[in-house]
């Protein structure tokens, strides 16, 4: 029995000086391992007398449990110490730069187009796309720009080299409006009764082209988004309501708008919608050229000649249309000073969006 006490005392003593995992394992082998003195005691139990056996056995078990629990406690202390040490040692310089991951970016025109189209979609205007190279008829004549009309001067065009097409040359569309005619004609063609075509509510996005010098303020190609609503009960007041809603979604619930008379060949009456400058809140700044207002969008009631070109009877149908420029709005929103950045494809510009 004394031997057991000695085993326990010396083992616990030895454990006191154990401070790392290796020493701990060595201690375990030495004191509670198979060939440890304690285990020798268990092995020698068989040689003891019936009387001695239970007492020695009990005592040996007690010592074993004591040593095991001492071992667990010491192991925990060593683990805690190791953790504390590693936490202290593994200090990063968190100000070092992160490892770069590839970074995809949408073109700013796409970003702006999506904003517009998403809002319009929620208002029931669905995307309708059409071709970029058009005939004079679709780009001008059907849209109430008669041949040689002065209004055409507002939209100088790029023409395609052709022969023998007379008054219907091929050109790069100057606006997405030819899609208005194509959409109306599609609807008439698909209608069970062509005299009663269905109402239309579409958004027409896409690239347009005008003959301009390329400068910080003007480009030869630009995106446009037009909206078109045609039906038997659509008024100028509805146009104002729809666009006022659109502006609130686009520029914030507090956005103020104003409408003033303007002229476009394909709408009548026509108007220009200004939005109170979202940069300065209308107080005047360089973005709004001190006026407090930003010209955002042209609009109007679809001209009867346009409705007729599309196959809709202007005596029964009315409609409104509006058009705006994603690049112009992106320029205002992001204070882009030079429109040439858009098609310049410099990643140092594109990466910022």
């Amino acid at each position: 029995m004394n031997q057991l006490n000695d085993i326990e005392t010396s083992a616990l003593q030895a454990l006191e000086s154990v401070t790392d995992e290796d020493a701990l394992q060595a201690w375990k082998t030495a004191h509670i391992g198979r060939s440890s003195p304690l285990m020798q005691v268990f092995a020698g139990l068989g040689k003891l007398s019936k009387e001695e056996k239970p007492a020695v056995g009990q005592a040996a078990n007690r010592v074993k449990l004591a040593l095991e629990s001492a071992f667990e406690a010491r192991a925990q202390i060593i683990k805690d110490a190791a953790l504390a040490k590693s936490l202290e040692e593994e200090q990063l310089d968190v100000t070092l730069p992160g490892r770069p991951a590839p970074r995809g970016r949408l073109h700013p025109s796409t970003v702006q187009l999506r904003r517009m189209l998403d809002i319009l979609a929620e208002m029931g205007f669905q995307v309708y796309t059409s071709r970029e190279v058009e005939t004079d008829e679709f780009n001008f004549q059907f849209l109430n720009f008669p041949l040689h009309h002065p209004a055409r001067e507002m939209q100088d065009s790029f023409y395609v080299e052709t022969e023998g097409r007379g008054d219907n040359p091929i050109l790069l569309r100057t606006h997405t409006s030819p899609g208005q005619i194509r959409a109306m004609r599609d609807a008439v063609a698909a209608a069970p009764d062509p005299a009663n075509p269905p109402p239309i509510r579409i958004a027409l996005p896409g690239m347009c082209y005008r003959y301009e010098q390329i400068t910080a303020r003007s480009e030869i190609q630009f995106n446009q988004v037009e909206g078109l609503a045609v039906g038997t009960n659509i008024t100028f007041a509805d146009l104002k309501g729809t666009l006022t809603d659109f502006a609130r979604r686009m520029f914030g619930q507090g956005a103020r708008v104003r409408f003033r008379a303007d002229h476009f060949p394909f709408t009548e009456p026509s108007a220009e919608m200004d939005v109170e400058c979202f940069v300065c809140g209308g107080k005047g700044c360089s973005v709004c050229k001190r006026s407090g207002w930003l010209e955002i969008l042209g609009c109007g009631m679809v001209h009867p000649n346009v409705l007729m070109s599309g196959g809709y009877d202007p005596k029964r149908y009315t409609g409104f249309a509006f058009g705006m420029g994603p690049e112009r709005q992106a320029m205002l929103r992001y204070r882009i000073e030079d429109i040439r950045y858009f098609w310049g494809n410099d990643v140092r510009f594109l990466e910022q969006f």
Binding site: P97, R99, P100, P102, R103, G104, R105, L106, S109, G124, Q126, V127, T129, E132, V133, L147, H148, P150, M154, F158, Y159, V160, E161, E163, I170, L172, P199, I200, Y209, Y211, I220, A229, T232, N233, T235, F236, A237, D238, K240, T242, F259, R260, A261, D262, H263, E268, P269, C280, G284, S291, G292, M301, P304, N305, T318, W343, N345, D346, V347, E351
Partner: protein, 904 residues
């Protein structure tokens, strides 16, 4: 059109309105004011950062310090030959003013002037522009000694007062200028730059804008008789006229004035012309210009004696004839240029030949000169298309062609000539010959349009009564009549509060003179809101029958109103403008929402963009216009859509290749360490003389390092074929395309023949990709790393969409095993993998290639492919034996099909 408000005041009382008020009214009414330029009038005191409703420039003249004065004597300067000292009276006291003005220099030392010279005098402390500075620099007059003589004030040039650029001499005012009056009161001005839209051609004159503004303000034009200069005299006998084609020349009017003295116009005339942007020439040319700016009718002056000298008939009277030019006919215009004409050009001729290019520019021979005594004055109407095309053809844009090419009503011709004659006689002392020679073969039909309150409601969404509509339209001088007085038994559309007299309908329909109503809606600014407000007197909205038909006749000075449904739209626009677009309410669309069908192709493209962004690509957008040279670096195409009028030879065709666009963008960014770019857009496939096809494509370019350099990762490997393939696999997986296969591409000449693949979905090719061919790459200024390029046809990609099928999440544990097989180099990895999958069937849920290995032990021309296989059954847990059985089957199959050997 520049509108000096001093001139506008001739026609309209603008008391109580600032230039900004006027500009705002015009802008909302469809005549956008782009700028206000002050030259004298009191200007709003804007701080540098203050809000300016309109772009504003110019200078205000201090009423105390800048006044009309008279020079009484011009004396020599004691110490400077080129300077003079002027004795001047400013209305209260005598002053001595130093000047070097050349236009009074000749009076130096002539003693007291018999007639004092009226000048613009700026006193000490006045702020004016520095006449010697480049551009407009403000300066304040201070006391200074110049060559020993004290100077503190100045007689001003036009530049110093912001009237023009002129600084050669001082302003010499008209003799009747009142000495001592503040100059701002005498001739101060503010000029509005008004944008004239095509539908507002009638407003390209002072009268035109005055009329419009009067209507918008609800004011009356001042003394209407002043804008109607009608000669009631007989037909003149000083010339004869022949119009060959009235559709080219609906009207031609001639007047004659004899014994003119050609000299400078009065200063006030010169100043007004400068304010509208014209250069004063002499009293004759100035009178024609002045009349044009005032009425909108361009005039042309001939030297009558030159024409008489050319007469070949016996009457000794010029015979004027108008006709289309003959092809190749020549005319020297008064700018000295000989012009070769086409039948599109219209000519004014006499018996001997062409005199002037109608509506655009006069001829040199019959031009008015200093020696001219008798003036033949032309006012005409021309087909606007011919004038417009002629002006463009000969690059002769002028104030006259600006107006004629937008259309001038023929009724203005005699009014213009009459005003021109009146002005010439006043300014030159000539005598007007009796009568006008007037040929008017094609008077325009001033359309009459029918409009009802229901039309107004249907299109504009506002309720107006017939009387209100009439009141608005009469402001712009439409003649209105209620066509069918209908006794209305229905309830008025407007709120009952408006109409406390139930029988008022009858009353209203009997009202013969609509003037009574119109005066009720005359008050400015708030007029339109009155219409809709309950304040309006009930008698005004007496007739609220929505079916009342109003026939509306266009006044004889505008050409922008059409017939029928178009005319109706034109009239509705007038109603909207005059009612005030800002006063129309904003409502929600009540019409049915059309079926929402979406746009699958557009949505598909957007999804593609999102996937590409998530894979780290940057979207670019390129010019669609390029050149054959630029594209041929990538590939040669037989033909292109060719631009007939390119802005530069570098952009003279529409692109055939989207990949060429993206490669150009990569080239521009060649200095970037790593590039992953894509573009989605159309390319253009020509059809001779027809519209091109516009298939949409996706092009991708990758080059440079796999990852950008980081502080701890140096020299990341360069991107290669398999980097691109990995992205493409993810992209197609993201699109949930099934049955995708890759095969060596043999049709892609621009790609490296050994590193090019075509991509198929089923048996449909959707695109190809690979490393750029070294010879192609050489033609681009790109870095040393390989350039990877892919191009997809979006239509093929869209139509390849396969249905989605969900694989169940496995319930039983998998068995993993690696096997390596040795095959000939010529055996494609894809073939081995497909054999493994085929043989394993649904028990092999994955076969991932993790190593490709070659060495001598394996043997030359051989490679080892190592696969990590996953065996799994949807029904049970596979035993090792079952897995081994599958493996054995696979190995056996590989041995048979591709002579593979299992590597131990």
């Amino acid at each position: 059109m520049k509108l000096p408000l001093s001139w506008l005041k001739d026609y309209l009382d603008i008391t109580g309105l600032s230039p900004e008020d006027i500009a705002r009214k015009l802008t909302f009414g469809g005549l956008e004011v782009e700028e206000i330029k002050y030259a004298g009038w009191t200007m709003p005191a804007y701080g540098k950062d203050d809000r300016r409703e309109f772009k504003t420039e110019g200078i205000a003249w201090d009423r105390e310090r800048i006044v009309v004065a008279e020079i009484r004597e011009v004396k020599p300067h004691p110490n400077a030959d080129r300077l003079t000292l002027c004795d001047l009276f400013d209305g209260t006291q005598e002053q001595v003013v130093l000047t070097g003005a050349p236009n009074i220099f000749h009076l130096k030392g002539t003693g007291k002037l018999p007639k004092p010279i009226k000048v613009a005098y700026a006193k000490e402390g006045a702020t004016i522009y520095d006449g010697h500075a480049d551009g407009l620099v403000l300066t304040t007059l201070k006391r200074a000694k110049i060559r020993g003589v004290e100077s503190y004030s100045m007689v001003c040039s036009e530049k110093e007062l912001g009237i023009s650029e002129e600084h050669e001499g001082i302003i010499l005012l008209d003799e009747d200028a009142p000495v001592g009056t503040p100059l701002a009161d005498y001739m101060g001005d503010a000029v509005l730059e008004v944008k004239i839209n095509p539908n507002m051609a009638r407003c390209a004159s002072v009268l035109g804008i005055a009329r419009e503004l009067a209507a918008l303000l609800g004011r009356e034009l001042r003394d209407k008789s002043t804008h109607v200069y009608t000669y009631t005299g007989t037909q003149g006998d000083f010339a004869t006229l022949e119009i060959t084609d009235p559709t080219l020349n609906p009207r031609f009017v001639l007047g004659l004035i004899r014994d003119v003295e050609i000299k400078q116009s009065p200063y006030w005339v010169q100043r007004r012309l400068k304010m509208v942007g014209a250069r004063p020439i002499n009293n004759i040319v100035d009178a024609t210009n002045y009349a044009m700016f005032e009425l909108g009718e361009p005039l042309h002056a001939f030297d009558y004696d030159v024409l008489v000298g050319r007469v070949t008939n016996s009457t000794h009277k010029p015979k004027i004839l108008t006709r289309a030019a003959k092809d190749g006919e020549k005319l020297t215009t008064l700018d000295g240029v000989e012009r070769t004409l086409t039948p599109m050009n219209v000519l004014v001729c006499d018996e001997k030949g062409a005199l002037s290019l109608a509506g655009v520019m006069g001829g040199a021979e019959s031009e008015v000169t200093d020696k001219t005594k008798n003036i033949l004055l032309e006012g005409a109407a021309w087909n606007f298309i011919n004038v417009r095309r002629t002006a463009r053809q000969h690059n002769l844009q002028s104030e006259a062609s600006f107006r004629f090419s937008r259309g001038v009503h023929p009724a203005m011709a005699d009014k213009g000539v009459s005003l021109g004659l009146k002005l010439i006689s006043e300014w030159s002392g000539g005598t007007v010959a009796p009568g006008l020679v007037d040929s008017y073969p094609l008077p325009p039909k001033d359309p009459t349009v029918e409009v009802t309150p229901r039309d107004v409601k249907r299109v504009l969404g506002i309720d107006l009564t017939a009387q209100q509509i009439i009141a608005l339209l009469e402001r712009v001088e439409f003649k209105c009549e209620i066509q069918e007085p209908i006794l209305d038994t229905r309830k008025p559309i407007l709120d009952i509060r408006y109409s406390n007299n139930e029988s008022s309908n009858i009353e209203s329909s009997n009202i013969a003179s609509p003037n009574i109503e119109s005066s009720n809606i005359a008050s400015p600014n708030i007029e339109s809101s009155n219409i809709a407000s309950p304040n309006i007197e009930s008698s005004n909205i007496a007739s609220s029958n929505p079916e009342s038909r109003i026939s509306v006749t266009t006044p004889p000075y505008r050409l922008d109103i059409g017939e029928g449904v178009v005319g109706l739209a034109d009239i509705l626009e007038e109603i909207a403008r005059l009612y005030g677009i800002e006063n129309i309410p904003a409502t929600n669309i009540a019409d049915a929402l059309p079926p929402q069908i979406g746009n699958p192709i557009h949505e598909w493209e957007e999804r593609l963009r999102d996937l590409l962004i998530s894979l780290g690509f940057i979207e670019i957008v390129s010019y669609r216009m390029t050149s054959v040279e630029k594209e041929s670096r990538l590939a040669r195409f037989d033909d292109h859509v060719v631009i007939a009028n390119p802005i530069t030879p570098e952009r003279n065709v529409l692109r055939r290749s989207l990949l060429a666009s993206v490669l150009e963008a990569a080239e521009k960014n060649a200095r970037a360490e790593s590039l992953s770019l894509f573009e989605i857009g159309a390319v253009f496939l020509p059809h001779k003389n027809e519209l091109p096809d516009e298939p949409r494509k996706l092009a991708i370019v990758m080059t440079g390092r796999r990852a950008a350099t980081a502080w701890d990762v140096k020299d990341s490997p360069v991107l290669d074929f398999f980097d691109m393939k990995g992205r493409i696999e993810l992209l197609l997986a993201g699109l949930q395309l099934a049955d995708v296969s890759y095969a060596p591409a043999d049709s892609a000449a621009h790609l490296h023949p050994g590193k090019a693949a075509e991509i198929k979905v089923g048996d449909k090719m959707i695109g190809q990709f690979g490393e750029l061919h070294p010879l192609v790459k050489e033609r681009y200024e790109l870095g040393a790393s390989p350039v990877l390029a892919a191009e997809f046809d979006l239509a093929a990609l869209t139509s390849a969409q396969s249905g989605f099928s969900l694989a169940p999440v496995p319930e039983f544990p998998p068995v993993y095993e690696d096997i390596a097989v040795i095959v000939d180099e010529s055996v494609a990895a894809a073939r081995v993998e497909s054999l493994i999958r085929q043989t394993g069937g649904r028990s092999v849920t994955d076969a991932r290639l993790f190593d490709v290995y070659r060495d001598e032990k394996i043997g030359a021309g051989k490679k080892s492919l190592a696969y990590a296989l996953t065996y799994q059954s949807p029904e049970k847990t596979l035993t090792d034996a079952e897995a081994a059985a599958i493996r054995n089957k696979i190995v056996k199959r590989l041995e048979q099909e591709v002579k593979a050997k299992l590597r131990s």
